[in-house]
Symmetry: C2
Subunit: 324 residues, 2 copies
């Protein structure tokens, strides 16, 4: 099984590569070769089967070159993130739509309809949304990023319907706890209020603690992509766009779980500093999804915010709380 | 008011041009100049304000040339129709997506966010659909044409959100009675079973007469596009994609109305000859739409299938039934 990861240098891409090297592809067997591509040279897992490649997927020849490697399965995670796509309209469309479309065209012309797992986002939805968003809810994205993801879902589904690719789009929830440095995404604080206190650093909470959010752990996000890659033909028959499973939790609930696990000194490092701009963005996000389709297909889900926090402490902090 | 019609040679485009010349643009005043563009040289209405132009909108320069004419309002009706887009995948995407996107890009670069009325289609929906499709129902197109229209709706809305254009997408129902020769569209028989008998010619009915369909007259389709062009900023605030109003009618009801208006001899020219392929396609179409949004915005609607038939007899047959 030859597997290509596009966007392999990101947090999800790196975790996914590790899983593929160690565990293979669920339902599809071991991975014999892994091509890790990103605009930056990705850091591969320490294994001989992985090849790394720096690729500008906006270039006309890039997609054809990647498909010439003859992947059996492709994970397409490469994207300009929401804030950046909103700030640079042309760059967002070039990478998030034109490059994805070029990939689909290269697959069509190759004549090999391989399984393509496309990493989409709940940003395809826009306010007003019901408290529990059903699987058949309409798309009214309020960001270019969301519009771009929705356009690519339509392309992936139509190319699949025509037999040019065997695609599945998975709309991932907001990922917490993201490791690494804080980023500028509006959702960044949702990781920050857990990650920073756990290493002994104060974190800003810019929204009302009663705010409810829809989240998944990095581990479940990767498991969801792997599950999508393993779906049978019958599995994708009911629709190739899947609302990935998450959990609905209030920000207050996140902090309470942090307090229960790490103590008052850690939880008290979260500082409430309301930001109307971020509050408005977060307030427009769906709070929870029904995910009937994903559940019926056996997609994985986190057991709770406490398990997410414990996994972060174990995986990213070596079990230590409170910094070095 | 300078008005550009893209796809002006089609049935809707010709009617729209006539209306603009004679009645102006509702809520926006008289039309001082009209540019009629199509891949074929359109036939303009007999009026000095109209200029006609043959344009290949797939060419890179075409959109910029049209925008250089400085339209105040654009009606974009140009498309490869469903059957043709399904048969020629590349042509469908070139015209139905890439050319529309080029138009939006030319508008963005021009710096003039003019009102753009984009003619979309209920083909953005796919089975399974409820008996009454709500405005917030999701898009699962079962044709490349439907996927292409959905993609363009997303583009029009996102370019509008960013202020690059002031766009409205209207999803028109199946148009009956289409004048002219029969075409190869799966929906063609819905016009044929009225149009052909009314001129004394037999027509094939390929589906079960109990089939229910969602239709609008050519006149209401044009009125809907004109209404969309006249919507205020407040009017588009609730969403820039609008399910255009139609009426739900059974095929048996259509034939009964034909019989009541034109008599048994005419209605008996409809010959039942079931076609499983067409039955399957028609069976997958939505039967009715709630259209709450369009109703609240005052979009027009036909009063019934009998009025649609009478309008066709008056407008297209000079009041005469049964042929020359």
């Amino acid at each position: 099984m030859r597997v290509l990861i596009l966007g392999a240098a990101g947090m999800i891409g790196r975790r996914l590569a590790d899983r593929l090297v160690h565990d293979g592809l669920p339902g599809r067997g071991p991975v014999s070769a892994l091509l890790l591509a990103d605009v930056m040279q990705p850091v591969g897992p320490p294994d001989l089967i992985a090849e790394v490649r720096a690729v500008d997927i906006a270039s006309p020849q890039a997609a054809a070159d990647l498909i010439a490697w003859r992947p059996d399965v492709i994970f397409h995670l490469a994207a300009i993130v929401s804030g950046a796509a909103e700030a640079d309209f042309t760059l967002g469309y070039d990478i998030n739509v034109r490059a994805t479309w070029s990939l689909l065209e290269a697959l069509r012309l190759s004549g090999h309809p391989v399984r393509l797992v496309f990493s989409s986002s709940v940003a395809v939805f826009g306010a007003p949304v019901p408290d529990l968003v059903p699987d058949d809810f309409h798309l009214t994205p309020r960001s270019s990023y969301g519009a771009q993801k929705a356009i690519c879902e339509l392309l992936v589904s139509d190319y699949s319907r025509k037999g040019f690719v065997d695609g599945v789009s998975v709309r991932l929830p907001t990922i917490v706890v993201r490791p690494g440095a804080p980023n500028a995404a509006a959702s960044g604080f949702l990781s920050g209020i857990l990650r920073e206190p756990l290493r002994g650093v104060a974190a800003i909470l810019p929204v009302d603690p009663v705010s409810e959010v829809w989240v998944a752990s990095p581990g479940i996000a990767v498991d969801s992509l792997l599950h999508a890659a393993g779906l049978s033909a019958q599995g994708v028959d009911g629709g190739r766009v899947i609302n990935g499973r998450g959990i609905s939790v209030s920000v207050a609930g996140m902090i309470a779980a942090l307090r229960a696990i790490a103590g008052d000194a850690v939880a008290d490092l979260v500082m409430l500093a309301p930001d109307p701009r971020i509050s408005a963005i977060v307030g427009s996000w769906p709070k929870a999804f029904a995910c009937d389709h994903a559940r019926s297909l056996g997609f994985p889900v986190d057991t709770g915010i406490d398990a997410i926090i414990r996994a972060h402490i174990s995986e990213e902090l070596g079990g230590r709380i409170g910094g070095a």
